[in-house]
Amino acid sequence: MEKNYLGEFEELVLTMVGILGEEAYGNAIVQEIETKLNRKVNLSAVHVTLYRLEDKNLVNSSMGGATTTRGGRRKRYFKITNTGLSLLHDMQEQRTELWKLLPTLKFSTI
């Protein structure tokens, strides 16, 4: 069995790729993270992560058609694979299991 966990940022990017579906490319992911989580990230950081995920076979990519905006340059679209999706599921389940073990927090003043 391969390792079935991801780093925090990898997990985040992978989730975003899943959320955006057909429209997942570098800048879109950055924007999405910014709007949904109000968190600033670097394009290059996202890029590195995307390629790392692709190496791990969790996403695959293909070049899109020519555009009129961005100086006519094409986009590289990323799509989550089945392995990626099931890994996300696994991680989610593990986390819920763990959550159950956490005692109810009580706050008290001394």
């Binding site: 490319y25 570098g26 800048n27 950081a45 890029h47 340059r73 094409r74």
Partner: protein, 882 residues
């Protein structure tokens, strides 16, 4: 106004480093991002873009540096490949180029190490710029002299009268009371050991010369009377593993010479002019009543440290007041005419401490010294050898250009520009130079131990110094470029059309330049040969010249003064040996390292009206003249039965200087002792090196038994030695015998000259060798080029002899031209060198002709190899290819 656009420069930068297959999407994303930022914060957009771009400098996005697509690296690799191939194809020429180069570089490296070592002397003092040594200067128009010893009283005067002087320290670095060489033992131990180089010093000297301490401090080590400072080496020899401060050392079994150790100093660095293991204090020392405050006798080397910012030249002129207020009055008072001389010609100079080693050749002092002119000479040789090797490179590269002409033509046709071609050939010469450097360093590592033995140094290659490797690489590149630049431009100037059509210029166009370079090479070589021949002749002359005594059969036993009362019976026992002819006690012998002094003598009654005669006076016994084999030319030798009335023997020079017709019976005085009566005159003999004239000398009968000179029959040296050792052990069981042979000691006096001449010889031979390899290559090339012509000549009936003449006459002519240039230059400089010797060979043209002959012969042999090969070859071989 233009619409805002992402910064162009940043885009360019990104494209420069980012992987090509990533570029499109990344640029696109960056664009989008740029415009979205622009909407919200127009001012931030550019900055943000830059920031994002710079963030892409990460391993995943970068181009592979060894990308297959870089044109520059391809070219570079190709250049190397071509260079390597051409190197391999012409093995002999490459070997000559590289071999000559590496020998040249090795010679350079060794010489640079040698020079560097000489230049590093006395650089270790932190305050070196204000430490000076005093030097006496007598600027007599007929004979200038410089020496370093001063009167003891000078210290107080310097300290009190000259505000710019911070500290004064005196040193007695020679044989003087307990200074010099001693038989010593620590109190409580029995074994007596011979130690050399005891010196007297003021405590201040430790501070001035920044002596490093192991135990004790520079302030206290010599501050008590009768204290001694010893080196780390000697401390661990006599007191291993303990702090010896407070222990006592006894010199020569003398109750008055008990010294207490006041400290231990680190050994002096090898490159310090001062080398000693034992410093005796001058505190509380007065060698005779009133000595310390007198101006009569100069025995003290004097060192100063000035205050920061004081002007040494000004101080020098102020120091004249020492002459006027102290020295001149002292001698005038005593009616000594020396006072007038002093007043006219004398001055005191300050010599910087860093100049002591290299700039003291004309100063009489006790320290071994180098010679700045030698440093220059060797430096020049290094450059010459390197130039010779570079010339080989240039000559062979241009000569062999025919082989490369087609390559150049083809490259040009395909479209390569001149600069790329020049770059290619420079790469090639740099490659040669790098290979040569590596070889040279390997050679130097192998040869350095031998060089150290010859040069008497302990040099090492400073691999670990931070500057060494970069320096080597930089010089390899520079030398590669220098020697490659002419061939590179020469080779790239070929016109592709004529070359490819088969119009081979065959490298003959540059024949003129090549001839000039060969002439230069041989001029330098012949100069070096002339130098080597003359230096060797002079050395032979000196070591074989009759010196006036029998140096070959005399054994010297040292340290006989420690025998005390038993000395006389020791002498008798030695004399009993069958192989021993004579034995004599004295302090002084005509070799270096024995006692010397200087006195003024007057004929009794003339000391106020005449100038004195400066002369050595040696204490000997009545057998001295017989033992040494001196010839008595007037009067008689000492009479053993007649020792009263102070008889002395003088040498011929002194007789002449005294200016009396018949010196026998004349009374002379030095004003210290009762007058001496001259009983005989002995023939002059050399007692200093032959650089110096023979000076006045007299022998007297008392005082002096530190050396026993034993004249023996040279047929059984070993037996004499072993028997003498036996006898010595009976007399001095705790002390090893110490002996030497006079001829060895004598030769040792010329060690520095011999060493220089040996180094000079070796480098000259190497230089000539390098020049010859070049000539060898060239002659081979000529023979190869004219192969067909020679074959046809042979078919038509030419003899080997005529072909040999055909091929070598041109080279021989060049060598003759070189000789004509070199001869007068060599004559001039060698005449100057020989002037330094009081006894020298005449510089005849014979030597020059001989050197020229050697040069010519060497060149002829070199050339003849290839020429004869061409002459003997079967003409079929040269012709059948067509």
């Amino acid at each position: 106004m233009n619409d805002p656009r992402p910064p162009k420069l940043a885009e360019k930068l990104l494209l420069r480093f980012i992987k090509e297959d990533l570029a499109e999407e990344v640029l696109g994303d960056l664009d989008e991002k740029y415009y979205s930022v622009l909407e919200k914060h127009p001012k931030k957009a550019n900055r943000n873009y830059w920031y994002q771009v710079l963030n892409y400098i990460r391993p995943f996005a970068l181009k592979k540096t060894k990308s297959k697509y870089s044109k520059l690296t391809i070219m570079f690799n190709n250049n190397f490949k071509v260079a390597w191939r051409s190197m391999k194809r012409q093995k002999m020429y490459s070997a000559i180029k590289i071999g000559g180069f590496s020998i040249g570089i090795m010679v350079c490296l060794l010489i640079l190490l040698y020079i560097n070592d000489d230049l590093s002397y006395d650089q270790q003092y932190q305050e070196k710029h204000r430490v000076y040594r005093l030097v006496n200067h007598m600027n007599d128009p007929t004979d200038t002299e410089r020496w370093t010893s001063f009167s003891p009283a000078i210290k107080k005067v310097l300290e009190s009268d000259y505000p710019e002087i911070e500290t004064v320290g005196r040193l007695i670095p020679f044989d003087w009371f307990n200074g010099g060489n001693n038989q010593m033992r620590p109190e409580g131990q029995d074994i007596i050991t011979y130690e050399e180089g005891f010196m007297y010093a003021d405590p201040e000297l430790l501070d001035i010369l920044e002596v490093q301490m192991v135990y004790g401090s520079t302030e206290n080590a010599l501050s008590n009377p009768k204290s001694i400072l010893i080196s780390e080496d000697k401390a661990s020899k006599y007191f291993p593993g303990e702090n010896p401060i407070g222990k006592t050392i006894i010199l020569n079994e003398d109750t008055a010479a008990h010294y207490t150790i006041g400290g231990v100093m680190k050994n002096f660095p090898k490159n310090s002019h001062l080398q000693t293991d034992f410093l005796l204090t001058l505190v509380g020392e007065e060698f005779w009543p009133g000595e310390q405050s007198s101006w009569c006798c100069s025995n003290y080397n004097t060192y100063l440290r000035l205050y920061d910012g004081s002007n040494p030249t000004q101080l020098e002129s102020k120091l004249l007041s020492i002459r006027d207020n102290h020295l001149v009055p002292h001698f005038r008072q005593r009616g000594n005419l020396w006072a007038d001389e002093l007043e006219k010609f004398y001055s005191i100079e300050l010599q910087g401490v860093t100049d002591i080693h290299l700039r003291s050749t004309d100063i009489h002092s006790e320290f071994s010294k180098g010679d700045i002119t030698m440093v220059w000479l060797f430096g020049i040789i290094a450059i010459i050898v390197l130039a010779l090797a570079s010339i080989n490179f240039i000559n062979l590269s241009t000569a062999k250009s025919a082989n490369r002409a087609k390559e150049v033509g083809l490259r040009k046709v395909i479209g390569s520009g001149k600069s790329t071609l020049v770059f290619q050939f420079l790469t090639e010469s740099i490659l040669y130079s790098l290979v040569s450097f590596i070889l040279a360093i390997i050679l130097a590592v192998i040869l350095l131990p031998y060089f150290n033995i010859i040069a008497e140094k302990s040099l090492s290659i400073p691999f670990l110094e931070w500057w060494f490797i970069p320096l080597i690489i930089a010089s390899a590149v520079i030398i590669g470029v220098i020697s490659g630049v002419y061939p590179a431009f020469y080779l790239t100037a070929f016109k592709p059309l004529s070359v490819l059509r088969g119009d081979t210029s065959r490298g003959s166009k540059s024949a003129g330049l090549r001839s000039v370079l060969v002439v230069f090479q041989f001029t330098a070589s012949i100069l070096l040969i002339i130098g080597a021949v003359v230096v060797n002749e002079q050395m032979n002359y000196i070591t074989r010249k009759k010196v006036g005594f029998d140096k070959d059969q005399i054994l010297i036993i040292h340290g006989t003064n420690t025998l005390g009362q038993k000395a006389e019976s020791f002498k008798n026992e030695i004399k009993q040996l069958s192989s021993v002819e004579e034995v004599s006690y004295s302090n002084s012998l005509p070799v270096e390292g024995t006692m010397r002094n200087n006195n003024q003598f007057w004929i009794e009654g003339t000391s106020t009206t005449k100038e004195g005669v400066g002369a050595q006076i040696w204490g000997v016994d009545e057998d001295y003249v017989k033992t040494m084999g001196f010839k008595v030319v007037m009067g008689k030798d000492f009479d053993p039965t007649l020792t009263t009335g102070n008889p002395i023997l003088i040498n011929q020079t002194m007789a002449k200087e005294l200016g009396v017709e018949d010196p026998i019976g004349v009374l002379v005085t030095n004003k210290f002792e009762p007058p001496y009566r001259i009983v005989g005159v002995i023939e002059d003999f050399h007692y200093e090196t032959m650089r110096d004239e023979i000076l006045s000398l007299c022998l007297r009968l008392q005082g002096g038994n530190s050396l026993a000179a034993v004249r023996f029959n040279p047929q059984n040296v070993d037996e004499t030695l072993s028997k003498a050792t036996e006898i010595w052990e009976q007399f001095a069981p705790n002390q090893a015998i110490r002996y030497s042979f006079m001829d060895e000691k004598f030769n040792a006096m010329y060690k520095d000259v011999q060493r220089t001449s040996r180094i000079f010889n070796i480098f000259s031979i190497l230089a000539v060798f390098v020049a010859c390899t070049g000539l060898f290559g060239l002659s081979g090339f000529m023979a190869e080029q004219r192969r067909k012509e020679i074959s046809i000549r042979k078919v038509l009936g030419a003899s080997v002899h005529s072909i040999f003449r055909l091929l070598s006459s041109n080279f021989i002519r060049l060598v003759l031209i070189s000789f004509v240039i070199a001869a007068p230059i060599g004559y001039h400089y060698l005449e100057k060198w020989l002037e330094d010797f009081e006894y020298r060979i005449p510089l005849s043209w014979g030597f020059i002709a001989m050197a020229g002959g050697i040069g010519l012969l060497v060149a002829l042999i070199t050339v003849s190899f290839e020429s004869l090969k061409a002459g003997f070859q079967n003409p079929v071989q040269g012709l059948r290819s067509e």
